[in-house]
């Protein structure tokens, strides 16, 4: 052995039995010798050449193995000496371990992940969902729409009781709006729900509730709501919502599901919060669509604001208790302000 010899204490395991042997490894440039302290004459010493030894990669301060080509190994926690041996033998030091030991890299990683997570939530997921939703064939949208309406009919809706005269008027205004978008195959359905509301399904089905028609003071108000719903169809909002919810759900499961089990209780919250954000974006997108459409027909977008205001009052207390950031709609105040400004100024923005 030359002066470069290194000493590593550890435990030898022959691979045939789990019996530990306390050993001292003396390593030089060409190989190593193992001296047993519980020496039995047969195995007082063993020697391995450099190319018969595989040095395990470093992982924090966990014990590391020197594995030998005969299946035996030495396990030692003396990481620094093993690192030096690795250097003497000309092995490459673990890049990953170098990254993990560098606090600057660690802080950079935190910043990178935070940035990516944030921009992914805000831009990435909606962008990807839009691209996918627009690329999906119409047949699929049709399928989903039919299934949804059937399910809602079973669970929530009752047949409409609006008189035929009123119904005809609403249908007429719907046709006047829909005629500009034959490719969306828009259809109007009337249902009773108990709450003033309107829905848009991915296949072009728009549902208005009896209560919405009752609460409307003018036909323009109903028209505004219908235009808003057509906006949802045009932008494939229902499909995008489904895709976004799936994506966020998958990400948060991957991110938090693996963590301490306690957080599983919490895994639903990021999806809930993200979906609420996404739905705000969609409401204002549909509002923008309605503004353009109404202005083209010479109507005042403010009519939509008026009925919105009344709907909020009707729903009343329940909504007010929910803090703003948990509400799935943008503050109705800001939506109304935008719609009224559009009526006054005549611009969609």
């Amino acid at each position: 052995m030359n002066e470069e010899s290194l000493q590593i204490t550890g435990h030898f395991f022959d691979g045939l039995s789990s019996r530990p042997h306390r050993v001292v490894v003396t390593a030089g440039a060409d190989g190593l010798r193992i001296a047993f302290s519980d020496a039995t004459p047969a195995q007082a010493e063993r020697a391995y050449a450099k190319d018969q030894v595989e040095i395990g990669t470093r992982l924090g301060n966990t014990p590391r193995s020197l594995s030998f080509n005969d299946g035996a190994k030495v396990e030692s926690a003396d990481n620094d000496t093993i690192d030096r041996l690795s250097a003497v033998w000309g092995a490459r030091a673990s890049t990953v371990h170098r990254l993990e030991s560098n606090w600057r890299v660690v802080i950079g990683a935190v910043a990178l992940i935070a940035l990516l997570a944030w921009s992914g939530f805000v831009w990435g997921v909606p962008w990807a969902a839009t691209r996918v939703a627009m690329a999906l064939p119409d047949k699929m949208a049709e399928h989903i729409g039919k299934g949804t309406l059937a399910a809602l009919d079973k669970l929530l809706f009752e047949p409409s009781t609006v008189n035929s005269e009123r119904r005809k008027a609403v249908e007429q205004s719907f046709t006047s709006l829909a005629s500009a978008y034959p490719e969306l195959s828009l259809r109007l359905n009337f249902r009773k729900l108990g709450v003033p509301n309107a829905f848009a399904l991915p296949d072009g089905t728009v549902v208005v509730t009896d209560e919405l028609i009752e609460i409307a003071k003018t036909d323009d108000e109903v028209l505004g709501v219908l235009a808003h719903e057509i906006g949802h169809v045009k932008h494939r909002h229902a499909l995008r919502m489904t895709l976004e919810a799936s994506a966020v759900g998958l990400f948060s499961t991957v991110a938090f599901g693996d963590a301490a089990q306690a957080s599983a209780l919490f895994a639903g919250l990021p999806s809930f919060y993200a979906n609420a954000q996404y739905s705000q974006v969609k409401e204002s997108e549909a509002d923008g669509f309605a503004i353009v459409l109404m202005q083209r027909l010479g109507l005042r977008p403010a009519a939509l604001a008026d009925i919105l205001e009344r709907m909020t009052e009707e729903r009343g207390d329940t909504e007010r208790e929910i803090p703003q950031y948990f509400s799935s709609h943008p503050s109705t105040q800001s939506r109304m302000a935008r719609l009224r400004a559009a009526s006054a100024g005549g611009s969609a923005r």
Binding site: H11, S18, P20, D38, L59, G60, P63, A259, Q261, L265
Partner: protein, 372 residues
Amino acid sequence: MEEISRPQPTDVSPSSTQQDIEPRRLPMQFTGTASEYFRIWIVNIALSIVTLGIYSAWAKVRTKNYFYKHTVLDGSCFEYHAVPRQILKGRIIVAACLAAVFIAKIYSLQLYAAGLVVLFAISPAIMVMALAFNARNSSYRNVRFAFDGTVKSAYKAYLIGLAVYIFTIGLGFPYFHWRLLKYGISHHRYGNQRFHFHATAKPFFSLYGRALGILIISIVTMFVPMFVLKIVGAEGPLVLVVLTYAIMFLLAGYLKARQANLIFGSISISEEATASMQDTATETPRNEHFLVADQKVGQVIWLLVGNLAGIVATLGLLIPWAKIRTARYRAEHLHVLAHGDLVATRSGTPSRSGLVADAATDLGDIGFDLGI
């Protein structure tokens, strides 16, 4: 960085043949630290993102090894040997399967349902593959673990348990759980040592029965503060949320602690009886070593509450800390009562190999990751 003194292995003299001496209490220890693991964790995530998920297979092996190697029994650590490249292959297969099921969901509900049925039907086979993959890639003192349950016996255990579960309208769940545990544990080997599971189904029934009792009592008593608050006029959804969480933590802490104590406490390991050994069995009793766990319900609740609070307050930055303290708690409340030598020898069974088997076992492995 705090320095943790690592216990040295007790040197077993090769000729110690004395039996029935006082059992040795060998504590399980966990030597990982949050600051060390944090750096490994964050670099794993960053590299996984930068490599578009490819590194995640390497990250998985690194993470698993970190926890294995910091788990110390009698001065030696555990080791995980899975090859990341195989895990990556398995992940790609699983991602393709999940994508297929997801796309089926969009196209046709029937097709989606069929996909789910298939996933459900093959889940026992996947479970066997996962257990086998994990076992044969785990070692202690240079001797590997193994799992030798067959797919057929897994279906038998699963279907019998499931039948009891369904025909008793869910009341037989403890039996189902017990049946699966017994199957999974007693087919494990460590070298030439066989794992045994001594529990009967009865303590599982009493454990789950008590948990149900706790749930019912706490829901009933939950209405009391609700009523009081309603009278005071301070009623609101927040109170309901807090009380629900309190009940969930109480229940989770109870179940986790008592399950760990019952399950670990029913495990032992002893040299597998072979034909030649049975002749001499009357002469020398086999050395049997028992696992003992002593988790406390209150401490586990505190652990869970702390983990959740830390993770939520730091938007996930304390996930590594939570994992470390959970692993430490588990290890510190687990020990082995060794009767005589705790020495296993490598068993002669060669490990199964072949590309298909490897891909399939990796498939099982990831399946558990995603909680299928």
